[in-house]
Amino acid sequence: MPSRFRERRGLFSALLLALSLFACKREERNFQGLPSGGTGTHPRVREVALVAGGGASADSGPGPYEENAYAVSQGKTLYNQYNCSGCHFQGGGGIGPPLMDADWIYGSRPENIYETIAEGRPNGMPSFDGKIVPDQLWQIVAYVRSMSGLLRKDVAPGRNDDMQVRPQEQSTKKAKPMQSAIPKSAELP
């Protein structure tokens, strides 16, 4: 009997070791930044979204931080520190459009959002190019996508550091992104 118990305990600790080795990827901290980080260049931003044959371009996949809970919560902190909340509040919008709904004027893909923040958009969105390093900017991109439930539930932030003013990103219902019409005033001449 005691030997069997020992055997079980051995199995249990082996399982625990395996879990601790593989289950914490979403909490991984990247202290080096992105390979292209810190240079001030845009890693993946194109000038135009035109693709041969029209329609949506091929999905370029998730941004670099969309599987990492630590980076997304860093993005949430930066979202407030860089005063994104000054216009977009906690995602409900105000002077700027809401970020927690399905409507995306300039696209919902990570590189669309990166370009919107880096280059700015007409009617008020300023350019943050050179003011936020690309590494942190990608963290904000991941957080912005979590606001409408586009990230995995175990990656999206589950709590706020201050008073709760909106449902946690973790429990936000996923909003299927729609492209809304670009306002006339924002069209290029």
């Binding site: 906690q90 995602g91 409900g92 809401p98 927690m100 409507d103």
Partner: protein, 105 residues
């Protein structure tokens, strides 16, 4: 806005533009405009000599931002908290920005 003929005009957040009898308060006439009315009606005499009443229909400002900007009511801090205060406004009215002018009979 009151006229010399004892008619009072006003608009509601739901978009009704109403004319009341200034003495009795009886509803004389109403018209449903496309959006909520915050603006004040004006009365003027047209070049044709007729009397007209005009009113702007459309909500805006911080209080109307939840409708005008299509904001998300799940964030109670949105638009400085005005979204939380006015979260039932989207059920009452829609986006506007129209000028209505009516000729008085």
């Amino acid at each position: 806005m009151a006229t010399a003929g004892d008619v009072v005009f006003y608009g509601t957040m739901e978009g009704w533009f109403k004319a009341l009898d200034a003495k009795s308060g009886k509803l004389l006439w109403q018209f449903k405009t496309g959006s909520g009315i915050i603006g004040q009606p004006v009365v003027y005499r047209g070049p044709d000599g007729k009397e007209y009443v005009a009113v702007l229909s459309g909500v805006g400002g911080w209080a109307g931002a939840v409708v005008a900007g299509g904001l998300d009511i799940r964030d109670s801090s949105a638009a400085l908290g005005f979204v939380n205060a006015m979260k039932d406004l989207p059920q009452a009215t829609t986006k506007g920005g129209m000028l209505y002018a009516f000729a008085l009979p």
